[in-house]
Structure formats: C-alpha cells, structure tokens
Amino acid sequence: MLRIEALTKSFDGFMAVNNARLTVDQGEVVAVIGPNGAGKTTLFHLITGQLAPDSGSIRFQEKEIAAKAPHKICRMGIARSYQVVNLFSRLSVFENVQVAVLARRGKTFNLLRPSRTIAVDETNQILESVGLGGKADRVCGMLSHGEQKVLEIAIALGSRPEMLILDEPTAGMSPEETAQTLALMKRLVAEFELTILFCEHDMAMVFSIADRIMVMQQGQTLVEDTPEAVRSNLLVQEAYLGGGAAPC
C-alpha cells in the first residue's frame, strides 16, 4: 500500500532521513521506533507532504506522492495526528472534527448554508466512537491532555483515511489513558478497516499492537521486521543501548 525507497532529507547538512525504506501493506499496523532524533517525525512529515524530500520515492497505492501538497496527499487517503497537540484552538470539539469532515466531503466552498446543519451525524459518530461524544460543545482548549490527543485522532478520522499515521499517540498520557488509546486503535483497525503507521516510545504498547516494526537510527532504516524478530535483533539492542537514549 505504502512503499518508501531511498528516501533522503537533510537540513543544513544534517541528514535527518537518510536512504530510508519502508513498506506497509493493506490492513497492517506498523510501528516505527528509534531513539530521539532518529528521524521518525521527519519521515512522517515527508509522507504527509509537510516536507519535500531531497531524493527518493514514496508510493502510495502505486502513485508517487513525494513532494505533493499536504492537502492532496490527504485527499488520496492518508491522514495523520501530531506528536505535539495540534488542534484548532478556538473551535469546539465538534467543530474540530467537522472541519475535517467538511474538507473531505468537498463542501468547503459552500458559502451560504449554515454549517451546523451539515455533516452533523457523521461528526457525532466519530466523536462517539473515540469516546468524546459527551464533550462535543467544549472549546478544545478545555480538554485534558489525554482527551486532546484523542481528539487529534478523531480529526484524522474525519478525513476517513485508508491509512492513518499517528505520531506518538500516547505521548504524555497516564497509563490508563494509554491503555484506552491502545484499545481505541485496535477498535479502529477493526471498525474502519484502517492501515496504521505509528511511532511510539512505549515499547510495551508497540509490541502489543504492531504487526511489523521498523527501527530507525540516524535517519536510516536499521531493521524492518516482525516484532519477534526485532526483539531478538542484536542491532536494535545496540542502537538503543549504544545510542545512549533510553526507549522511554
């Protein structure tokens, strides 16, 4: 479904992503792990078009998407959440998701119909399914951090993607919230038939959900394999231990 080859991106001579490769198949849940600064977020930015790669190819459903505009990539079926909460700060929870739904339905140039009558059911459905149904009218800044991270995912779902990219979905969450998010992700895969690509520092979580794992180090693909294989891979242990950064 997604096929990345020889992808490279540098900033002022610093190789953030260096000759990376990755394959994600339909229906898979793939995790990207690696120490801080390994280039995970940059990789995601490259896939979703926030950044343009220096070289290499990103093919999604057999179409080249490298260096395309973010909104075009989104319309092809890739939606994402952000590591740092990245919401529409002055809008309500409902409206946050509605923006995404409206954008997907292409209703964005409808000038005169009141938007409170459009896409209400679908938006509410998404909020229900992520468990924010009761808080639809809150301004999103009033939510707890965990709820905001969930709202991140809800907005991404509003685009009804085929592939969901989650950048550290449980960062900063309490253990309970992490567990809930994990359950949510599993449910989403079943309910929406989603393909998920995510990165995460919580190894327990990664190993409990991922079908396959990609390990990144200094912008390069170190290993790309099943969880079992990764767990026993010496290179990975070295990367974490030798790199000095704890996998927290």
């Binding site: 979703t48 078009g49 926030q50 505009a69 973010p70 909104h71 989104c74 319309r75 939606a79 994402r80 952000y82 990245n86 919401l87 529409f88 700060s89 002055r90 809008l91 309500s92 409206e95 509605q98 923006v99 995404a100 409206l102 954008a103 997907r104 209703k107 964005t108 140039f109 409808n110 000038l111 005169l112 119909r113 009141p114 938007s115 409170r116 009558t117 459009i118 009218d137 301004v139 907005i155 991404a156 509003g158 685009s159």
Partner: protein
C-alpha cells in the same frame, strides 16, 4: 436557512432594531442621520475586514485599498463610462473583488507579517496610481460632486440606502461566517498546517476569503460615495487600514458584530471629542492602550463573556 441560525427572540430583537432605525429620520436631527449613515459605511467596512482578520487570521494590513477601489470604480463608472447607476453599483464591488483576487494571487503564498507588508506595498502601488493619474482619477485632489441618482441624493435617501445595503451585506457575511466555508476559514486561522493535513487547500480558501472581503469593502466604498459624494486617494492610504484594524480590536475580533461596534465608537468619538479638543488622537491612543492591557478581546467580546458562558464561545453563532 434563517431559522437554523437565529432564534425567535433574536429575530424579534433584530426586527425591532431595524424598525427603530427605519423610523430614526423622523425623529432625529439631520446630522445624526448622517452620522449613523457614516457608522453603517465604516462598520460594514470594518466587518468586511474582520472576515479575513478575525475569522481568517490573515494579516490584512491594507484593506482600505479595496474600499477606495470600490469607491473609485463606482465614481469612474458613473462619470467616465456614463453607466446606468444600477449597473455601476453592482459592478463596482465586483471590481474590488477582482482586485482582491489579483493582489491575493501574489500575497497568499506569504504568511503573517510578510503577507501584511507585501499587501501594503502592492496596495501602495494602487494608491500611487490613483494619486498620480490626474487625468483619470483626479489625482490627489480627488473627484467631488459626483452625480448620484436622485433617490440617494438627499441625506435621508443616502441613509436609507446605506441602511438597506449594510443590513443585507451584514446578513450575507453572517451566513458566510457560519457556512462550511466560514468554518474552514476559522480552522485556517487557528491552524493552517493542520488544515492542510485534513485536505484543505489553504491558499485557495484564503484567496476566496480575500475576494469576498474585498467585495464587501467595495460595497462599503460605494456607500461612502453615496453618503459623501466625493472620492479621494486617502481612502486607499495605509493609515486608514490601520484605523480599521483598531476598530476590529476595539469592538472584538471574534464576535461578528464587534467591528460594527468598534466603528461606531470611533466615528462617534472622533466627532464629539473633536469638538472639544484638537488632541482627540491622544485620548484615543490612551484608550486603546488601556484596552489592550485590560480588555484584549474587545468591548463586545468582553461584554459577551460577562453576559454568560453559553454565549462566550467566540466562534459559534
């Protein structure tokens, strides 16, 4: 459509207000009728600016260009092209919208201060054109004694005309702010990056918003000509644009009627304080500084917050 946006009570209040405004010329002295017409014009202009500023988050630093352009377009269509007034009144705002589109094509690639300063530069070129093209625009002397249709020639006629046009424009802008387009626009204001990520073509929306705001600024420009019977390049000068931003701030950015209130306050203040002292800008400056310190959400924004949390939500309604 209307039902979905307004409660019965709101409609009633609006109807009463409108009735009062329609009856006003029967009771009020002539000068106040003129002043209120001026408030409608300025308020409409400030509201059109706020469409992109408060609801779109664009640093629209030179909105007055579209206002002046509309005013000049109407004047030149009437005097030079000899067009029937009905068409001239319809075409002039479209000229503004076209200018908005043209300048927008160049500016929307930029963000924030860069966007604003490029707009000031381009707008100043348009201003220089009006200021220098003596044979066509009358240069810095402007054009005065514009032949207007009889219905709007008297100050009462001009009042009713601007009341009607202003009300309709406000209603349409309100609908736009609450439409899917308006919702997306607010999304862009809050987070353009995220908007792109959910599939919104941010530049195209900003361009459209620019054209719409320019259109209504043009409408305000035609009303100015109706009320004052003159045009001059100052209508396009950048200082006026800054004053407009101040009106939006004063009334409240995130409330639809905030700029209207801000415009009313400024117009009334400068008229009446100006009678007593030459130093009214000193007063205005101090008031604004205090406001930014203590009431950054503007007068109406503050009042609504105090009035109750249910209505405090700025983006709703």
């Amino acid at each position: 459509m209307i039902r979905a946006l307004f409660s019965a009570k709101t409609l009633l209040v609006a109807a009463l207000l409108l009735a009062a405004l329609i009856l006003a010329p029967q009771v009020l002295p002539r000068f106040y009728i003129y002043l209120m017409a001026l408030v409608f014009v300025t308020g409409l202009l400030a509201t059109s600016l706020n469409m992109v500023l408060g609801f779109g988050g664009m640093y629209q630093f030179h909105h007055a260009v579209f206002y002046g352009f509309g005013a000049y377009a109407l004047t030149l269509l009437l005097t030079k092209a000899g067009m029937p007034p009905v068409f001239a009144y319809l075409l002039a705002p479209c000229c503004s919208a076209a200018l908005g589109l043209l300048l927008g094509l160049i500016t929307v690639r930029l963000t924030k201060l860069y966007f604003g300063m490029l707009q000031i530069s381009l707008g100043s070129l348009v201003w220089a054109l009006a200021y220098r093209w003596y044979s066509f625009t009358g240069g810095d002397d402007g054009i005065h004694g514009i032949p207007l249709p009889d219905v709007v020639y008297s100050s009462t006629g001009a009042y009713y005309f601007s009341l009607a046009v202003c009300s309709v424009s406000l209603l349409v802008m309100y609908l736009i702010v609450n439409s899917p387009f308006g919702r997306i626009f607010q999304g862009i204001r809050d987070n353009p990056e995220r908007c792109r990520a959910v599939g919104v073509d941010v530049h195209r929306h900003q361009l459209a918003g620019q054209a719409i705001a320019a259109f209504f600024a043009g409408v305000a420009g035609t009303l100015f000509v109706t009320v004052e019977g003159s045009v001059f390049p100052e209508l396009m000068f950048w200082t006026l644009s800054l004053e407009l931003i101040i009106m939006c701030l004063l009334g409240g950015w995130f409330v639809f009627l905030g700029p209207m209130l801000g415009a009313a306050i400024i117009v009334v203040l400068r008229t009446f304080v100006g009678i007593y002292t030459e130093y009214w800008t000193l007063v205005l400056g101090v008031v604004l500084m205090l406001l930014i310190f203590f009431l950054p959400e503007g007068v109406l924004g503050f009042a609504l917050r105090k009035a109750g949390p249910a209505q405090a939500d700025p983006a709703k309604e």
